[in-house]
């Protein structure tokens, strides 16, 4: 009896010690593991994921994916199109609007469906059966979209399951903003920024944030009034500075400057942020500042025409401004 009691006591003490050590040692171990994984996650850029999701093997495996967030993104795309499965297109074929990620899903009339059309289907009766029992629409027909608000919980879940899923924060934030849920959208994007410090794609979140504030110019419901200009400028500058660290010389596709394999989409987003800075500084009346940035940007991206055009316009304005000053002085 006594021996049993002693054994039980020893077991309890052992267990207490085990958990005491776990409480002290596991949190740093977990964060070290997260850091090690973030190196891998950093390589899983939107382009890499898109390339993987469009590969023939991913198509064969259907919707099986290694990460829950990626799987949910695919599901969300499916729900958006009222269940109709379209063949995902890659990169620039998709007519991506860098201002609004949510447009990723729209404006794709003509996109092939995963279930073949009757004209292209060799399966005859089986093909007809599949088109009848599964959600299907002719590729040439206008896409029907479910209400975007219905999809919002998916973005929340995506980012909960993987806080480094930048794609989820961008699309979710843009969707919230397009539904004029301003404060929620800002909160969502700020949460993404807070949880992705050190993520090489962080500049994309700032770029989306800049786009978000840019809406303030035209949308009456924007709750921060005239502050849209400063807010957008601040976000765009941050996107530009962070993007510059990752961007290889001349934005060469496939090159790696730090942690990211640069792509055309990343280049588009980076140049968009840069261009927005020029436009906002011009809007603010800070032509000198805009010219200073413009010179740097033209050197960085000499082939990006919008920046070049805005820069030329700024130069003309500055010359005109100088002339009028001289006139007034004389």
């Amino acid at each position: 009896m006594e021996e049993n009691r002693t054994r039980n006591l020893a077991a309890l003490i052992g267990l207490a010690l085990f958990f005491a050590v776990a409480v002290v040692a596991v949190p740093p171990l977990r964060s070290a593991t997260d850091r090690a994984r973030s190196i891998y996650t950093a390589g899983q850029t939107e382009d890499v994921l898109r390339e993987r999701n469009t590969s023939a093997f991913a198509q064969i495996l259907g919707e099986a994916r290694a990460t829950a967030a990626d799987l949910m993104f695919i599901k969300t795309n499916r729900y958006l199109h009222t269940g109709v499965a379209y063949v995902p297109k890659q990169g620039r074929d998709l007519a991506i609007d860098s201002v609004d990620e949510s447009k990723h899903f729209s404006a794709c009339v003509g996109a092939a469906t995963q279930i073949r059309s009757a004209a292209e289907d060799f399966r005859g009766f089986l093909g007809n059966l599949e088109r009848t029992v599964k959600p299907y629409k002719e590729a040439s027909a206008e896409h029907t979209h479910t209400a975007k608000t219905e999809l919002l919980p998916w973005y929340r879940l995506m980012t909960l399951s993987n806080p480094q899923y930048i794609r989820g924060y961008r699309t979710g934030g843009s969707t919230l903003a397009s539904e004029e849920k301003w404060r929620q959208a800002l909160g969502f994007m700020e949460e993404g920024i807070a949880r992705n410090q050190g993520n090489p794609e962080l500049f994309l979140l700032y770029q989306t944030l800049a786009s978000f504030h840019l809406r303030g110019k035209t949308h009456k419901g924007y709750p921060w009034g005239d502050a849209w200009l400063d807010n957008a400028l601040k976000a765009a500058l941050k996107a530009y500075e962070l993007g510059k660290i990752q961007r290889p010389p001349l934005g060469k596709t496939g090159a790696i400057a730090k942690d990211l394999a640069w792509s055309l989409d990343l280049e588009d987003d980076f140049c968009f942020s840069a261009h927005v800075i020029l436009l906002l500084l011009r809007e603010k009346g800070d032509v000198e500042g805009a010219l200073q940035y413009g010179r740097e940007m033209v050197e960085l991206a000499p082939n990006y025409q919008p920046i070049r055009r805005t820069f030329e316009d700024l130069k003309k304005r500055a010359e005109g401004h100088a002339d009028s000053k001289e006139d007034r002085a004389s």
């Binding site: 040692a25 171990l29 070290a32 390339e51």
Partner: protein, 288 residues
């Protein structure tokens, strides 16, 4: 003075040797028992199908490194999944089946302690599962070449940590099977093995969300304290997903640092040991 000590030592040694012999005998029996069943072969056939498909793809030609990485990642994840399935299925069935068939009493009537019987069964399950896992991984590597950036060190680390994870799964499933029916314990062990990370992540994220602010304010807790408390509580749960780094290898993201690898190995082994001790205690006290 020295003679009795020498005599005692030899008695201890004899006891230890007989314990090891008992464990090995039980392990051998369990190994043979499970090898006679279809589970292992069914799983091996599924794995073989995947490997064959991969080999066909390789013959046709893999044009992109990303495709090769994707296939490698799928192959290694599938190997782990099948091995985990075997681990949960074998370990959770060991004792309930013996109870049902009434074959445990004759075994324990022999000079074999309960601890030795349990250890033997765990050892057999673990070895069989590891053999399966190594076989599956080997078949994958034969079918698919490693791409630039994928390191042997990382592969060795992945296999080592997954093996420890499988040991943890074996002990967890066996411990649960001493309380619950076979299927329930196997399902719980499998679900926790693969889903613990997701649950921990969801809990961690949800306490950091805005709606938790009210709760924190009501309890007079600051955000940082609240997060630290949750983190500590979550540390008391076994999380085998910490040991899964297949993507780090397949995604050609280098390898884990030495201290991190060692820390993770110790973490997995400590939890496996805890479940083993728990199972031994439970089994030793069970009324048969």
């Amino acid at each position: 003075m020295n003679e009795p000590l020498a005599h005692e030592r030899s008695a201890c040694e004899r006891l230890a040797l007989s314990s090891v012999a008992s464990v090995l005998a039980v392990a051998r029996l369990t190994w043979l028992d499970f090898l006679r069943r279809k589970d292992f072969y069914v799983v091996a056939v599924f794995m073989l199908l995947f490997v064959l498909a991969t080999a066909v793809v390789r013959i046709i030609g893999i044009d992109k490194a990303s495709t090769a990485r994707f296939l490698m990642s799928a192959g290694l994840s599938l190997s782990h999944f099948f091995a985990a399935f075997l681990a949960a299925s074998f370990s959770a069935r060991c004792f309930p089946e013996e109870f049902d068939r009434g074959t445990l009493m004759p075994l324990l009537a022999k000079p074999i302690s309960r601890a030795a019987a349990l250890t033997g069964k765990i050892v057999a399950c673990f070895l069989l599962v590891v053999a399966g896992y190594v076989l599956f991984v080997g078949a994958n590597l034969l079918a698919l070449p490693m791409t630039p950036g994928q390191e042997w060190t990382a592969l060795a680390q992945v296999v080592c940590l997954q093996t420890i994870g499988l040991a943890l799964l074996c002990t967890t499933a066996m411990t649960l099977s001493l309380y619950l029916p076979t299927l329930v314990s196997a399902l719980i062990a499998m679900t926790w093995h693969f889903g613990a990370g997701l649950v921990v992540n969801l809990v961690k994220q949800s306490v950091a969300l805005d709606h938790a602010e009210g709760l924190r304010a009501a309890e007079g807790l600051r955000a940082a304290e609240w997060r630290a408390m949750t983190e500590r509580l979550l540390s008391c749960l076994p999380d085998a997903t910490l040991l899964s780094h297949t993507e780090v290898f397949a995604g050609a993201a280098g390898h884990l640092s030495g201290p991190l690898f060692l820390g993770l190995a110790v973490y997995g082994l400590a939890w496996a040991l805890l479940f083993y001790v728990w199972a031994v205690r439970r089994f030793s006290r069970m009324r048969l």
